[in-house]
Symmetry: C2
Subunit: 337 residues, 2 copies
């Protein structure tokens, strides 16, 4: 059955039934009214609010991403923003732009993916809007709660702070390369990183509770791009030791097969959704231990915050430096020299 | 200059500067971090959350709608949802899907329209996301605050309650017809209703304060469609007296010129963003007076809530009834009988 047969309101009823999962203590009025009404965070907490969207043939292709994965991924993009603030996800509203020829079963699976990611990480979908659109897109707005005095920000780090990253990098970008090359089945770990990412909520919350991080951001644009955002908001420079960047094994495998540069993908590829954060240099061990104990996650020091005037630097294994932001082609030329 | 020349982050900087309007007391962290951080509503209040989007060539055409009007209108669609809950708008996040060939000046004007509507009605834009998209769309998520004990809902009206509508109907649908026919300049009032609607925030807040309304909804889908939503959520039927429906003069003028049925547009046309609400039958005068005194707005009783079994009825001037939901063609045939 196609959407044009079911109609907008038939579809909304169907989605509401599909998402209904019993009573949520924080929901006064859920889907079905002009707006959702929600219990606000407790005194001393702040309300977090973020939004992010996913668009067909810009962020994914139907030939290598299922509708359930599309729903999951766009919810995780938002959950990852809440993780980067050290918050706990709360409530989401969804705008779906759907071509009239879309199959209802496609929407069912999309909604399932959105709902699964929300439930797994403690968020609740409380409303939304279905609009006809020539291109398929899903836009999510997500709230979260965080303690006002321990919230993680992009601003706040100072020269001398250590730059630390959770997990490993490059798997999502490698997965994209493999999927676009029609090789997703050969590289299931990388493909999974691209299609079913995980937000680092426990890590963000552990960092916030410990009052350790002087700044934090999630890696959605890639290490180089997001380090630049963090530096911009903090008014500092950054120096990344390329030899220290933890490159995912699944990224190495894809790159070997496809003739790509794994370090390049780890530094410039996006959508890893790991956390990049800074701590005072004498507290790196403590920060690594807390993430291990409370979030089961490895963390690696990959560089330092430097004075703003020094800019954004990558330190090569031979000790020489190059601009961190330099892109793919330039980087490759240097490497081949 | 086109977006592809400026780049995503250049554009985001430009938008942030354009929206910067000084300190907002409710904003702890504004645009520029992974999420906004906001002061939650006071104890005893609920947080409202809604979203709505506008898409080129689905909801508007560039040949008859300026980018400033596009921004204004999508913000008002969301503000109107908060009005229908009796709330006060608070904070918005915006997702803009923009083709790479978009002119930067187009985005400037779009952002101006979003910001103007937000500021005029007491909301603050605190973040957002720019994504490349083959089709231009703007998706807004808006929060609001409302007193928990006086919130307006779609559910709650009972048979015997009076059905009341603010303002006049049909102007926006008539404006759409005039603009699509290339006659917008001939009908400036109708065109303005379509392009620059106003949310009925003062009316919704006055109704909430007075504890008068047993149910409420904003008219975005049209009187017939939204009365059906209200009836569905309240588990009742509704009877609308067609002779009582306040048809906007600008709607009559367009319909006379274009050979359309003005009552038809007032009943089935959407986007008037007036409030449709119910009050106990003995409090209609009080509800009309309060809206006049506190919101400067006329209100008209147009029918009654009836038992669910009676369904959704339109009472014709001769006293006979027909289904309220019957569409354009059928309605016309009946009228010509």
């Amino acid at each position: 059955m196609k959407l044009e047969d079911l109609g907008e309101f038939g579809l909304i009823d169907r989605i509401r039934r599909r998402l209904a999962t019993g009573h949520d203590a924080g929901v006064v009025i859920g889907p079905g009214d002009d707006a959702a009404a929600l219990v606000p965070p407790e005194a001393g907490s702040v309300l977090l609010l973020t939004c992010d969207a996913i668009i067909e043939d810009v962020h994914f292709r139907r030939r290598w991403m299922s509708p359930r994965e599309v729903g999951w991924k766009v919810m995780v993009r938002n959950l990852s923003d809440i993780a980067a603030m050290g918050g706990q996800p709360a409530h989401a509203v969804i705008t779906c732009g759907l071509p009239a020829r879309t199959e209802v079963e496609f929407v069912d699976a999309l909604v399932d993916g959105l709902g699964e990611a929300a439930r797994k990480y403690g968020a609740c979908i409380v409303g939304g809007d279905i609009v006809q659109s020539p291109v398929l897109f899903v836009s999510v707005a997500l709230t979260g709660h965080a303690e006002a005095h321990s919230i993680l920000r992009r601003s706040g780090c100072r020269p001398g702070d250590a730059l630390v990253v959770t997990g490993e990098l490059g798997a999502s970008a490698a997965g994209l390369a493999a999927l676009e090359a029609g090789r997703g089945d050969d590289f299931p770990d990388a493909a999974r990183a691209q299609r079913l990412p995980a937000p680092r909520l426990a890590a963000g919350q552990a960092l916030a509770r410990a009052h350790l991080a002087t700044a934090a951001i999630d890696l959605s644009d890639g290490l180089a791009g997001d380090a630049a955002h963090l530096a911009e908001e903090s008014g500092v420079g950054v120096s990344v030791s390329l030899a220290s960047v933890p490159v995912a094994q699944s990224c190495r495998e894809v790159c070997q097969a496809l003739g790509l540069d794994a370090l390049q993908l780890a530094v410039h590829g996006g959508e890893d959704h790991e956390l990049l954060y800074t701590v005072p240099a004498d507290r790196v061990q403590e920060a690594v231990r807390i993430l291990h104990d409370e979030a089961g996650l490895a963390a690696t020091r990959i560089g330092s915050i430097v004075e703003k005037e020094r800019g954004l630097l990558a330190v090569k294994p031979d000790g020489t430096t190059m601009p961190l932001g330099e892109g793919w082609d330039h980087f490759r030329v240097r490497k081949e020299e």
